[in-house]
């Protein structure tokens, strides 16, 4: 069936996220919970549908079961379509050899036929590692207006952190003259967000060439972008302003959750004009008990709070019993904190039981001392 699309998205969701330790032991990073009722992957998928992109290939590799089950047919994001929609693209066995995805560029290369099926003019490359709300259609508009071969979304980061990113050095008109991956001495602080729009013809040409280069690590930041620049292709940066956070580490995941609370939160998800969609779980409303104290916290459906919850983000179905305290913590689905137990400065993964009298974490610990409890644990006193 011929089904031309102007722009399709390829979402790289194969990352292990090893710096999230136990959280990604059994699930891929994009399937990690965030903000009470979301998974990280809800953000790029919701961005797509809110930007008018209705065809998304989700490239999976590491521990894909939870992720596959979660995205299923794309229905929660309105991506169950007759023409287009959401497709999970795992590595597969070809005629010549069976190949795991070697790098980000190789993953896309292996799915060139998927792209060609939609004959898109542009391909949007995304990753499933970030929390942000972005209207990609504005970036696409700029890409078309500049006639670029590739547009790289960038964001201003603190100068002292710039060495951790891919840095775009640009001319006054926004065109990129140099791209430095994790430079020791960054020349500026415009960091690549790992979001690229390619004109399809250029993308395919460079992916094919890159595949022939045996010394390449088949990576967009390390190989494809520098090759484009080296050949004098037109690259532009698209400056994004707004909240964007890499949640690849325990402390950054915790911080991003904390960004949702406070008097005047840095990140608000209750925007009815730009919804973040997620899979519905049909839980009852939250119930807050007679002697409960709930302050400065995000509480989700199905929670039953009889104890104290302060400065925390609590996911669906969590029970905090009488006399228990949860403070400065991120508590994921269906955790039970029993009578008199305490959870301080922690990320507690789903289905954990904190037994009566047990204490998790240290009160008022910093973001570098966050206690991490793996899914399904039983914490005894």
């Amino acid at each position: 069936m011929y089904c031309k699309k102007e722009c399709i998205a390829m979402l790289l969701a194969g990352g292990q996220g090893s710096r999230l330790y136990d959280l990604t032991k059994k699930i891929a990073k994009p399937a990690v919970s965030f903000g009470g009722k979301y998974k990280i992957i809800d953000f790029p998928l919701s961005n797509c549908i809110n930007s008018g992109i209705d065809t998304v290939g989700v490239l999976t590799q590491y521990q894909p079961f939870a992720l596959n089950e979660y995205v299923s047919n794309g229905q929660p994001w309105d991506l169950d379509r007759i023409r287009g929609g959401l497709y999970v693209l795992p590595p597969y066995q070809g005629n010549k050899n069976s190949d795991w995805y070697k790098g980000t560029a190789n993953a896309i290369y292996q799915n060139i036929n998927f792209i060609k099926q939609y004959d898109p003019d542009y391909v949007l490359i995304l990753s499933g590692d970030h929390i942000y709300r972005m209207d990609y259609s504005k970036m696409l508009e700029q890409h078309k207006a500049t006639g670029a071969a590739c547009t790289v979304a960038t964001i201003t980061v603190p100068m002292e952190e710039a060495f951790r990113f891919g840095i775009c050095n640009t001319n006054p008109d926004g065109s990129i003259y140099e791209f430095e991956e994790k430079p020791k001495n960054p020349k500026n602080n415009q960091a690549s967000m790992g979001i690229y729009i390619f004109t399809t013809k250029t993308l395919i040409e460079y992916l094919e060439n890159d595949e022939e280069d045996e010394n390449s690590s088949n990576d967009f930041g390390k190989n494809i972008i520098p090759n484009l620049l080296g050949n004098g292709e037109k690259l532009y940066s698209y400056r994004f302003e707004g909240y964007w956070k890499d949640v690849g580490t325990i402390s950054s995941l915790w911080e991003a959750n904390m960004d949702l609370i406070g008097e005047d939160p840095i990140l608000t998800l209750a925007d009815q004009d730009f919804r973040i969609y997620s899979k519905n779980t049909a839980r009852p409303p939250q119930y807050i008990g007679k002697d409960a104290v709930v302050e400065n916290s995000l509480i989700s459906e199905g929670c039953r709070i009889y104890g104290t919850v302060i400065n925390s983000v609590v996911s669906g179905g969590v029970i905090v019993e009488e006399g228990a305290i949860v403070k400065d913590s991120v508590v994921m689905e269906d955790v039970v904190v029993k009578k008199g137990a305490a959870v301080y400065t922690a990320i507690v993964d789903s289905d954990t039981v904190v037994e009566s009298g047990a204490v998790v974490g240290k009160e008022n610990a910093g973001k570098d001392e966050i206690a991490l409890i793996a899914s399904g644990s039983v914490i005894k006193a």
Binding site: L269, A282, P284, I288, V314
Partner: protein, 376 residues
């Protein structure tokens, strides 16, 4: 596993005793228990019993009901076969009011063609003003084992029971219905209240409609009364929480019972294996701000709580600003309570704005109702 039953849900036929809550919506679409509409309970009970061929009958202000149901997807009822079929009165071509209906029996007569096509062996009929979480398969099993013509779900009522409208009251011996009566209050001769849930063979329903047509019977209740002695009607006793919403005061009292009585709350909403489904709004989790105080309350998603909320039911997208106190209230979605406002025993319909410093109070037996969209 396909179910052996089809479902028919009636919305608000003949029910005008809920006047305020239904001035803009049919009974099935009345918001209840924080994030649901009444119809969600009847629908979820059926869906949880694997029933996937469901007719929803409405003749009155059903716009909001249609909007709520959408394609039926949120109840897993967007199906190739069956799913939700909406039955409303329609004007037949030449003969005026041929398909208009205002009673259950008239509705059943008008949907005869649908009923003729039902492939399932059994039908489950239910009203939407009775709110409960019940195992429909268990009723069907009981129906099969007793070999009844009709199984009527009942619950015992307290001696202080009164309803706005006469309800169907039943007396039974060893489960067999011996008498049916209409009563608006407790009657010791008929101590069971019919909950508006009936199970029968589809074939029996077809005969029932034919008989009603032959005798020009326009009331389902009259049919039951007339045939009680000659037929085999059995009861199925339900002992969990039931909200039989027949008046505005009932509505308020049942809402408060859900907040105040954990057993009732668990009976209706606490069964993990039978979740209650509702329309998905993709709302963000609720934010409790620094200084907020919430006690003994049920709160839906996407609320902003900066003030105090006590003994209340708070629907989706409600804002309670700093210094505001909400006590013993039911606030429908979109209610905005500004700074230092004080509300006690209030039922606020959708999108009400309570301005800064306003104080309003009803009492337990006379809660104050604020109309949809009002600014106070």
């Amino acid at each position: 596993m396909a179910s052996s039953a089809a479902g028919i849900i009636f919305s608000s036929l003949n029910n005008n005793t809920l006047s305020r809550l239904t001035s803009d919506r049919t009974v099935a679409a009345i918001p209840f228990a924080c994030r649901y509409r009444l119809v969600d309970f009847a629908l979820s009970n059926m869906v949880n019993a694997n029933i996937s061929n469901i007719y929803i009958v409405a003749n009155y202000k059903y716009r909001s009901l249609l909007e709520h149901l959408g394609s039926g997807k949120d109840w897993d009822l967007a199906r190739r076969d069956g799913g939700i079929t909406f039955v409303s009165p329609f004007q037949a071509s030449n003969t005026a009011d041929q398909a208009m209906f205002s009673t259950h029996m008239e509705a059943l007569k008008s949907m005869k063609e649908y009923i003729d096509e039902i492939k399932e062996d059994y039908v489950v009929l239910t009203d939407s003003d009775t709110v409960l979480t019940i195992d429909v398969n268990d009723i069907i099993r009981s129906h099969e084992s007793t070999g009844a013509d009709v199984t009527i779900v009942t619950s015992s009522v307290a001696p202080d029971y009164t309803a706005k409208n006469p309800r169907i009251m039943i007396s039974s011996v060893a489960g067999k219905v011996t008498q049916i009566a209409m009563s608006a209050s407790f009657d010791e001769r008929h101590p069971e209240l019919a909950l508006g849930i009936y199970v029968m063979k589809t074939e029996y329903l077809r005969t029932l409609i034919e008989e009603a047509e032959a005798y020009n019977l326009n009331s389902f209740t009259m049919f039951l009364l007339k045939n009680c002695k000659s037929s085999n009607y059995m009861t199925y006793r339900y002992t969990g929480f039931v909200a039989s919403v027949s008046s505005f005061l009932d509505y308020y009292k049942y809402s408060m019972e859900l907040v105040n009585n954990e057993k009732s709350r668990d009976s209706l909403l606490g069964k993990k294996e039978t979740p209650i489904y509702t329309r998905v709004h993709n709302s963000a989790p609720t934010k409790h701000y620094p200084g907020a105080k919430v006690e003994n309350s049920m709160i839906a998603d996407e609320c902003s709580i900066e003030g105090t909320v006590i003994n209340s039911i708070i629907f989706r997208d409600v804002t309670v600003e700093k210094g505001a106190v909400v006590k013993n209230c039911v606030l429908f979605h979109g209610t905005h309570v500004c700074k230092n406002a004080k509300l006690n025993c209030i039922v606020a319909d959708k999108d009400v704005l309570v301005s800064e410093g306003v104080a309003l109070s009803g009492n337990d037996n006379m809660p104050f109702y604020i109309q949809k969209g009002r600014k106070i």
